[in-house]
Symmetry: D3
Subunit: 216 residues, 6 copies
């Protein structure tokens, strides 16, 4: 099994960090490659950023169709996920969807720690689209990058029992936070890999009837 | 990673079939063991059956706490799942919850093929408890064990794009049905393993604050 | 009409208190008997407690089938309710379900006062399972047993208009709180009796087709 | 306890039938009186009918405030229920709300048999307002007054396990249908009495804070 | 196009204010007339007020059927809306429904500023009836008529992005608040006109099959 | 008021038809201009089509910012709506959202007639995103372009009371269908204009705090 992890932004440091997490987690059981979408903007913060990175993401999937068994979209707002699901019959997994659905299996409710306050409404729209309204205690922004404090507030005030790191850029912080908080903390990149590698291994992929029927 | 797959019923043939699927899917990447719950009834069809198998399931988790890194409940009605999640801080994964949440990532809507008509209301209650109402096209019983016919009706009439095998006893039928139907077909035992092994590998488990806080 | 009120725990003082409430409320219009489930744990606080009390509860229903016209489960977390509904065609009423559904007819929204913070997530799951999300203003724990204070906060901050006592152990407190708060306060044991005696009197009971079809 | 059952229409035969059901069910345990709303239209089929009957219904509640301990609105579309709840601190129970909420405790899903096809959308709006979407299998009109046939279709095609008679005019048909169908069949007038008499007996009534705070 | 704006209360100053807003907004593109419902109470604050104004509102629609092309109900609690929709095949638009549905197209979530705390539960019931639960951030009462402060709290604490003036009596305040807040502020009277005039212009009106089939 | 109607596809015949509808409906009360997105694909049927048309649509909004007071996206699947809402503080209205929200004010439930079966899942996802699940009776594809037959089935079998034409290409068919069916039939292009012109006239536009805060 060979998995392509797509970083929708062009931040090289983030691509490397995501790649390291992927390799370490795969641990030789399967291969992973992390590539930034060609022509991607520096960050994915706006709907326009999502649009600008779409053609590059699609190109990676199209060209990787033969070589890879599954694709992971390594941005927690799951940009262009429908587009890529349409483009291939291989599994395409958004780390937002994967991390929140896995989190819902580990406790009564999870909270998402978001990098910026501006992304909260969009994340809430995803929560609703994925049917996770009652499983999601809150989406909280980490002011000044203080993830720990945001997570503590989620546990104390919002009734969260599980924490989801709401940005690919937070990859690698799960262990430290888990120790400090004493609750499960999910690294979304890892969650994407769990689902993508598992589905690829069992031969399942995106359904090509109706909704995503155009390609693949 | 070492995973205990718990068959809540005492059907030896089913325990073996589930065990074979698990071993074949793990393929050496991690170890799996499949055990029937001691004192389990022959089948799990009623709420009383679920009650009768509870003490044995709990015993397996308690005694396996040290030896195993995760637990899979290999019955699609997820019997006693809250009980086991409470009993340990390791991942405990119901194959019903895992298969339906994974299915929701592969298409617009999935249908569950159930072994008997009698289990349909209970499965619909699970669908609702898991927040999957809009992702679930239907739960259909396979009259006379004709899974293929039930799945075809789900695709044609209910708008399903993905099929979930709704009974551990159907394990191994996914490949054959996928070929016949041309859509993804999920083996729930495999889905349970994907989630359990993945969570165990990344060090996440059941949250011990609030809802499942009593044990583990 | 003769109603068996089942106390799922073994606290004799609580069994007596529940029994007194039942007798006083029935006031001779029908007979009530309150029995603790044989082999029950001291309190019902965990899913394991629920499991341990299940066989005794089932025994009471099975053996009482002839003698009683209806059964009330006198614990606000409605433990093993599906199991007992399956076991008989007589009415089986959980005091959690009955009290919250009656409360929803008396005002825009109700709040449940819970004995412990630990039971809040489980109660929220019941609220959702019963379709009462928009009718439930909040579930609040009474720190240090101060029900009055918890209820006042529910009225002031959560928009509650009706209070539900969320524990059989609070039985008898409704009058005092009603006076202090000036809003309806429901004793869940009484609510269970209202529904159970009424259904028994009109000859209705648990449906034996599909979901609870196995017994009775 | 003395309960006023309000027939919102002026059909004398229906008032008598409802009154008979009420007396027979109360069986001396409490007193009931059934009165038609003064100035009521012949039938309640339209929103205008609901408007025309409102002043008379309000008059009955206002003038009966001292004499009666609870009020039942004996029309399954629960006309002017908010208005009456506002007018008194005694219990006011709509037979639509009471019958459907009681039905939801007896099986996985209920169906309402409606007298006319025209009332289906309005009943569906009530189902949603009461949070009963997942508990309601269907609302079916009885073509040519053939309740039995409509109920059979509900059981066979819609997955209903419990039948609710969706019109006060059907009062008294529950026993016959129960025998023919083998499932619980609820007479809504009886359901209204169960809830109203029970709430009156325990001293609970409509909350006078916020939503219904204007009167009573 | 000629539109009748119905003020359900008898406050002459409010009728004039609503009429001025309507004329100014129509700006000659269509004609508007604002009439108080004959026999209306001074204010619409209770369900009884809604009942008292119903016959006058119905009379205005019946008598205006020929002369007017559409009707606007100029009270944000949409009193008797079903009644009027039933009475005519012309468009009948409640300013509550129109303003909240338009607001949902301008941002992630809106808040309603209510004139009194007492009307909050009723407005929340409307929000739910209209399917706007996830689009509505909050309903907030303006203590002492300080709309600006209430709106600021909605933006800061509730996550609102759009403000809806929740009372016809607030008509004309939108411009001032928009300037002070920097977000869209909707005048509900204007919203009602937008929808009513638009629907009238394209020849659409209330459907006369099923739910509102009795009249018109 | 000057409104830009954007056709996201490059079909010149459709651009002209949409433009004609817009001009005729505006009838001189405001100006409209209909432009195809530069570089748009021939049709918008896939997520890739939506991606390909995004840059051109954005360009039209950016360049039209000064000249136009509002923007209408004239494709019923509301492609790239979030993107355009983010790009300007003027109103941006999708004809899918506008037509379905207006339809929900004219009857109990509406059905959408879709041009192709393939677009049904995507439309259902929109229905859910807009909170219209209970207002939408069904989405039906018109086999062989027979809109009338599809609409008749929606009325007879699905309980629809209002019909929404689910494709900009169906513009102009509303009058003919209304006559044949006897129920309201909404032309989505007209609906988009009603909302866009109305919002522009009252000075409201897309909120620039949080969700769509990046531009405009």
């Amino acid at each position: 099994v060979n998995i392509l992890v797509i970083n929708p932004n062009s931040d090289a440091r983030m691509t490397r960090a995501i790649g390291r997490t992927a390799e370490r987690f795969a641990a030789g059981a399967y291969r992973t490659e992390c590539l930034a979408a060609p022509g991607a903007p520096r960050f994915i913060e706006t709907y326009e950023d999502e649009m600008r990175t779409a053609p590059g993401m699609l190109k990676l999937v199209r060209e990787g169709e033969r070589r890879f068994n599954a694709f992971v979209v390594a941005c927690h707002c799951d940009p262009n996920l429908d587009l890529l699901k349409e483009a291939t019959a291989k599994p395409v997994v958004g780390i937002g969807e994967a991390s929140m659905k896995l989190a819902s299996m580990l406790g009564h409710a999870f909270s998402v720690i978001s990098a910026t306050a501006g992304s909260i409404p969009n994340k809430l729209a995803l929560v609703r689209a994925y049917g996770l309204e009652s499983a999601c205690a809150s989406v909280r922004a980490a002011a000044d990058g203080d993830y720990l404090r945001a997570a503590r507030l989620a546990l104390r005030r919002d009734g969260a029992e599980v924490i989801v790191l709401g940005c690919a850029g937070m990859t690698g912080w799960d262990g430290k936070l888990r120790k400090a908080l004493g609750v499960p903390v999910l690294d979304p990149v890892v969650c994407g890999l769990i689902v993508a590698s598992g589905l690829a291994a069992c031969g399942a992929g995106i359904s090509k009837v109706r909704r995503y029927g155009a390609g693949g």
